[in-house]
Every structure is written in structure tokens, then in C-alpha cells.
């Protein structure tokens, strides 16, 4: 499959856009990286002949061949470690892990080697590796394919953790990550792959150091990332009809966390609700809350609230899965509760 092309339309800022999905944006990013740098290769389970378990790499084998679109056996620890070793000696591997749950089979390599080698060697070695994996629930895949563990990974010094939630970030984060000298993990929420929209035809690399304000507002700051960004934006639009004007921050990068963006916004709106598809206890939402308390405590007019996934293994049945996850309604309810509180 080629770079997405469809009916090109002109936007007010005169950039030509193309209609494409998140999946196609990610594929275009991989293609660009493969063309730009011969050291880049893609390695993982079923990335080649199968076309990627979520069809992200469909067509790339025919274009780049089996050396660079490298099907790996079901050996997460070995092929993630192989990516680390290849990066150590000058390659720029993109390792794809089918889901975040499977990444646990490679956690030793990610934590004890990738995240550690630079510091432990006194800066003699670095690991310019990108690991992509699918995360998140919402597709009735039950308790071993649905978790959101990106917050765990964000706990680890030495790693960078990216959570593209828009077409621009799906298209642009990969190349910047490949240019980074250290291991970067990219979490692609599975519900986003079919998200469709208009992407500028000349979309390219984006910076990966800052959060983004996806909606400006004055009454409250909603802070989220990844798969819950569309839900949070929808909640904000519906709340606007109730005269509650929410700012929506997309964290984009969970490590390093853009504390300034969070504190600046919350200091202005004086209220915050954190939306996180991870479990509440020990989550990235807990970290964000702590940073708000550290940096904006005296500006707050109400307690920081959180909308997280219920602390259960994600169930199969649709109604139970829905009940476990942050939803537009639960986000709206938390916002109303915060606004109703007068501190």
C-alpha cells in the first residue's frame, strides 16, 4: 500500500491535505524513515508477509525486502534484545511488539539493557532504538491484549515514552524518535488505527518534547493522552454546551513529562481532571496529579480528579469492558463535579 492519497483539498492556510487513517499515517512514517536512512529496519512478529498484526506494515515487505522488513519468531526477549544490540553497533532498528501485554516478555531487555546501558557504561554506549507497540482496550480482546501499561514504562529513567494520539503525531513522531540517541517507546492505542482525518500532504517530523493544547478553554484543564484524547475532546465539546469551557492538554510524551504545560494551564484554569486509560493506582495520572499539587497547589479551586480504568483485568463482554474504561459520560461527570466544587 502506498502513501495515502485521496482527494486533495485546500485548507484555509493553503496546505494541501490528504484523507488518511492513523494506520496509514504510521505506515507513511515508516516508509519515510526507511527511505531516508539505510540503517533503519523494521523487525517484529508478522511485520512482513502478514503485513503487520494491525496492518501497519502492509506492503512494506514488497518495497524494502526481507532484510529490512524482518519477520521475527515469537521470541520477544530475543528480538527486542536483538534490536538493542543492533542499535548499539550503529543500526536504527524499529522493533514492533504486537501488544503491550506481550512486551512483558521483553521487559528484562527493555529495562535492564536498553534503559540502563548508557548510564551503567558511563556514557560509552547508547541505544538509538525505537520500539512500537499497540496498547489499550475497547476492542473486546479481553485481559491479555488490552492493557495500558505505558505508565509503567514512563516510570523508567533512560527511556522516552511517546503516545501519538493524532494523525500528525502518528505521521511525525517516528522520525524524530529515530533521530534520538536513546531508546524511545511509541505506544499506538489500538482504537486509533481506523481514526480518519485530513493530514497535510507535506506532514513530516514533529518535535517530541512538549505537550499540546488540543482545545483552549478557561474553566478547567482536562489532561489526557493516547486513546482517550478523542473521548476527552468530545466530552469538552459537549460540556461547552453546558457553558463549561474546558482546555484539553494532550501529553503526547509521558517521559519526559511536560510539567510546565500542565502547571501553566492548571494555574490559569484552577481546576484539573486527568483522564488515563491506565489503572488508577500508581498510574501516569497519579504522576500528573502529583505534579499539579507540587506546581499549582495554591492556584487550585477544587481537588484534582481522575478518570481512569477500573482496577480489573479488562473483561471481554462489551458492556463490562465499556464500564471499565473512561468514557465521554464519566469524563463529563468528573468535570461537572470539579466545577461544582468551590474548594
Amino acid at each position: 500500500m502506498e502513501t495515502p492519497v485521496s482527494t486533495a483539498v485546500s485548507t484555509p492556510d493553503a496546505r494541501v491535505t490528504v484523507r488518511c487513517t492513523y494506520r496509514e499515517a504510521m505506515r507513511a512514517a515508516i516508509r519515510e524513515a526507511m527511505h531516508r536512512d539505510p540503517r533503519v529496519f523494521l523487525m517484529g512478529e508478522d511485520v512482513g508477509r502478514y503485513g503487520g498484526s494491525f496492518a501497519v506494515s502492509m506492503g512494506l515487505l514488497a518495497e524494502f525486502g526481507p532484510e529490512r522488513i524482518r519477520d521475527a519468531p515469537l521470541s520477544e526477549s530475543a528480538f527486542v534484545g536483538a534490536g538493542i544490540g543492533a542499535a548499539l553497533v550503529g543500526m536504527r532498528p524499529i522493533v514492533e511488539i504486537m501488544t503491550v501485554n506481550f512486551s512483558l516478555l521483553a521487559l528484562d531487555q527493555i529495562l535492564n539493557n536498553a534503559a540502563t546501558l548508557s548510564h551503567m557504561s558511563g556514557g560509552q554506549f547508547s541505544v538509538p532504538l525505537v520500539i512500537r507497540m499497540t496498547t489499550g482496550a475497547g476492542r473486546q480482546l479481553a485481559a491479555q491484549h488490552s492493557h495500558s501499561l505505558e505508565g509503567w514504562y514512563a516510570h523508567i529513567p533512560g527511556l522516552k515514552v511517546l503516545t501519538p494520539a493524532t494523525l500528525e503525531d502518528a505521521r511525525g513522531m517516528l522520525w524524530t524518535a529515530l533521530e534520538d540517541p536513546d531508546p524511545v517507546l511509541i505506544f499506538e492505542n489500538g482504537v486509533l488505527y481506523n481514526m480518519e482525518g485530513d493530514l497535510p500532504e507535506d506532514a513530516g517530523p514533529v518535535e517530541i518534547s512538549h505537550a499540546a493544547v488540543r482545545r483552549h478553554g478557561d474553566d478547567l484543564t482536562l489532561i489526557t493522552y493516547g486513546g482517550t484524547l478523542p473521548k476527552t475532546l468530545e466530552a469538552a465539546e459537549r460540556l461547552a454546551k453546558e457553558d463549561i469551557d474546558c482546555e484539553v492538554i494532550d501529553l503526547r510524551t509521558l517521559r519526559p513529562l511536560d510539567t510546565d504545560a500542565i502547571v501553566t494551564s492548571v494555574s490559569r484554569t484552577t481546576r484539573a481532571v486527568v483522564v488515563d486509560e491506565g489503572w488508577r493506582s500508581g498510574s501516569i495520572s497519579a504522576e500528573v496529579s502529583a505534579r499539579i499539587v507540587e506546581g499549582a497547589f495554591y492556584r487550585l479551586d477544587s481537588p484534582v480528579l481522575r478518570v481512569c480504568t477500573a482496577e480489573v483485568p479488562i473483561p471481554y463482554a462489551k458492556h463490562l469492558e465499556d464500564a471499565a474504561l473512561p468514557q465521554v459520560e464519566t469524563i463529563m461527570a468528573a468535570v461537572r463535579q470539579s466545577v461544582a466544587s468551590d474548594g
Binding site: 538493542i84 543492533a86 535492564n112
Partner: protein, 337 residues
């Protein structure tokens, strides 16, 4: 427990050894032994801390393997790696300074005994996770192959790692992709305190290699000439034809780390293995060949003692990294080439 029949002399050295080279091998083994003996003293004086896994008894492997590798080959090691590091050519000063936690250490004092690194000699570290270096080595081999560098990546691991899933994943991957990796199993018969017979349903590591279509040899790891010969031949094969495995039968005479009560093995067993001590048998061999006498041995010992004294003085005089640098290198300061 008896000494396994396959321990001594599985592969006989075929190439004649020159006097000069033989003495170099002896010197290399002795240097490792004496270095570690001094480390024990320094540990007792609390000048070295943390874990200190001694290689004493296993020196013939490091001393025999390293001369069979090229300077552009890569090495991935284990936490029992002082011998590998010294034999590879990491300066003793830098190794000792690392033990002292000084910034002049080969890992800036960040790694200690278990984590010796050296980019100059392509030494990709001791690794504190049993089996954790194997995927790394497979990746180094993959990266070298993809860049057509024609090198060998030597991956050391112990018999303990053979029980880890990563060992099996990595042998499979290396064979599947014909990666230039030389798997070097230092089978010292104990994973910490667990005897190999209590850990592996099949104690023959070469049989496991065969299951992955990797040609393998069992070699007497107490015989430095056999080690070197086997490594040279295996490394040649790796360069042309993909992975090989050598299982070195060896024995550690000291505790797993600095102190353990050694409840898991008998004194008699340790004593029996002492008969194969390469620092007893090899000097005897060289004396019989007329290569070594008391005078030359004393001279070698003296040289080594001087080097160790200097390394200790260097380490003692070294500086501690300022605490303000604590978080340096968590992320890279420069982009790799």
C-alpha cells in the same frame, strides 16, 4: 559427586605452540588469578564493595579465547567477567578503578565489578542478569552482519543461563538468521548453588545447540591450548557460516560471590577439581617442554605484582565522580554516529 568424564581433554590441541605464545598464555592466566586474589584482600579491607564474582579456576577460558579473536570482534560478557575484561585488553588500571568506584574506572564507577564496559575494545559489558547478554549479542551480530563488517560477536554465558528461555530464543534466532555469533558457555557446573544436574534435564549443552542446528563442541575449559584452538576454529566458522557454540567444562574454586558457605558442594569435590587447575597443570606442561623454569616464572610473577600494585595505587588515587553528575548519561549527551 564425581568429576564428569568429559571434563579433561575433550579436544586436543592440534597446533604446536611456540614458547613465546605459551608464556603469554600463562602470563594472561596468572595475571587474572593474581588480580582477583588481590581483589579479595581489597574486599576484606572494604575498599571494594558490592558483589565480587571471582573467576578463579576458570582463567584458561578467557586467556585462551581472547587471542583467537580479532581486535574488531565484539564481546558480550557476564557478571563474572574480570578475566574476560583483562584478557581482552581493558587496562588493569581502569578495571581496578572501576572496582573502587572511581570516575577513572572503565564504566566511570557506575558499574562496578559486574558491569565493566569498554568501547575501545568493543567490550559490551558484564551483565548482571543471567542470560541477559545473549539477546544483546545476537543483536550485535545482526547489526554487524547488516553492515557487512565480517566480525564475530563472542557471547559468554554460564550453565545457569542455559535454563533461561532467552538462551533458547537466541540460539534459534542466531541459527535462523545465520548470525555471526560465537556462543561460549562457561559450564562451571553450578548456577550459584544449584548444581547443573539439579537444574537441567539434559546437562549436555552441545545437544541443545544441535537442536537448533548449531554446530557445537565440548572442550576442556581447564586446558588453555584446547580452549584457544577450539575458539580459533569456531571463530573462523562463524565468520563464514553463522553461529557456533562451544561448551567449556570448567570449575570455580571460590564461592559464587565473595562469601557463601558453600553448602551445595563438598570440599572433596573442590579438591579433586584442583588437580585440573590450569595454573598448576599448564606451568608443569611448560616446564616439561623446557619453556619455563623458576627464574622465568618468578620474573612473570614479579611483573604482574608490579602491575597490580600500580593499578591499586591508580585506583586509590582516583577521584570520585561529583554527586552533581549523578544523572549524567541517563540520556545521551551526544548523538551516536
Amino acid at each position: 559427586m564425581s568429576i564428569p568424564a568429559q571434563a579433561p581433554g575433550q579436544v586436543a590441541a592440534t597446533s604446536p605452540v611456540s614458547k613465546e605464545h605459551a608464556l603469554e598464555l600463562l602470563r594472561s592466566m596468572l595475571r587474572i588469578r593474581r588480580f582477583e586474589e588481590r581483589c579479595v584482600e581489597l574486599y576484606s579491607e572494604a575498599r571494594i564493595r558490592g558483589f565480587l564474582h571471582l573467576y578463579i579456576g576458570e582463567e584458561a577460558i578467557a586467556a585462551g579465547v581472547m587471542p583467537a579473536l580479532q581486535s574488531d570482534d565484539a564481546i558480550v560478557s557476564t557478571y563474572r567477567e574480570h578475566g574476560h575484561a583483562l584478557a581482552r585488553g581493558i587496562p588493569m588500571n581502569a578495571v581496578m578503578a572501576e572496582m573502587f568506584g572511581k570516575v577513572q574506572g572503565c564504566s566511570h564507577g557506575r558499574g562496578g565489578s559486574m558491569h565493566l564496559f569498554d568501547a575501545a575494545t568493543r567490550f559490551y559489558g558484564g551483565n548482571g542478569i543471567v542470560g541477559g547478554g545473549l539477546p544483546l549479542a545476537v543483536g550485535v551480530g545482526l547489526g554487524e552482519l547488516m553492515q557487512q563488517r565480517h566480525t564475530v560477536t563472542a557471547s559468554f554465558f554460564g550453565d545457569g543461563a542455559v535454563a533461561e528461555g532467552e538462551f533458547h530464543e537466541c540460539l534459534n534466532l542466531a541459527a535462523l538468521w545465520k548470525l555471526p555469533v560465537l556462543f561460549l558457555c562457561e559450564n562451571n557446573r553450578y548456577a550459584m548453588g544449584t548444581a547443573i544436574e539439579r537444574a537441567l534435564a539434559n546437562v549436555d549443552v552441545t545437544a541443545k545447540a544441535a537442536a537448533y542446528n548449531i554446530a557445537a563442541a565440548a572442550v576442556d575449559g581447564m586446558d588453555v591450548l584446547a580452549v584457544e584452538d577450539a575458539t580459533r576454529r569456531a571463530a573462523d566458522a562463524v565468520r563464514n557460516d553463522g553461529p557456533r557454540l562451544i561448551e567449556f567444562h570448567t570449575y570455580r574454586y571460590r564461592a559464587h560471590s565473595m562469601y557463601d558457605p558453600e553448602l551445595y558442594r563438598s570440599k572433596e569435590e573442590v579438591e579433586r577439581w584442583r588437580e585440573y587447575d590450569p595454573l598448576v597443570t599448564f606451568p608443569a606442561q611448560l616446564r616439561a617442554l623446557g619453556y619455563l623454569d623458576d627464574v622465568s616464572l618468578t620474573a612473570i610473577e614479579h611483573e604482574i605484582a608490579v602491575e597490580i600494585d600500580a593499578a591499586i595505587a591508580y585506583a586509590a588515587a582516583g577521584t570520585l565522580e561529583p554527586v552533581s553528575d549523578l544523572t549524567r548519561f541517563v540520556y545521551s549527551e551526544t548523538r551516536p554516529a
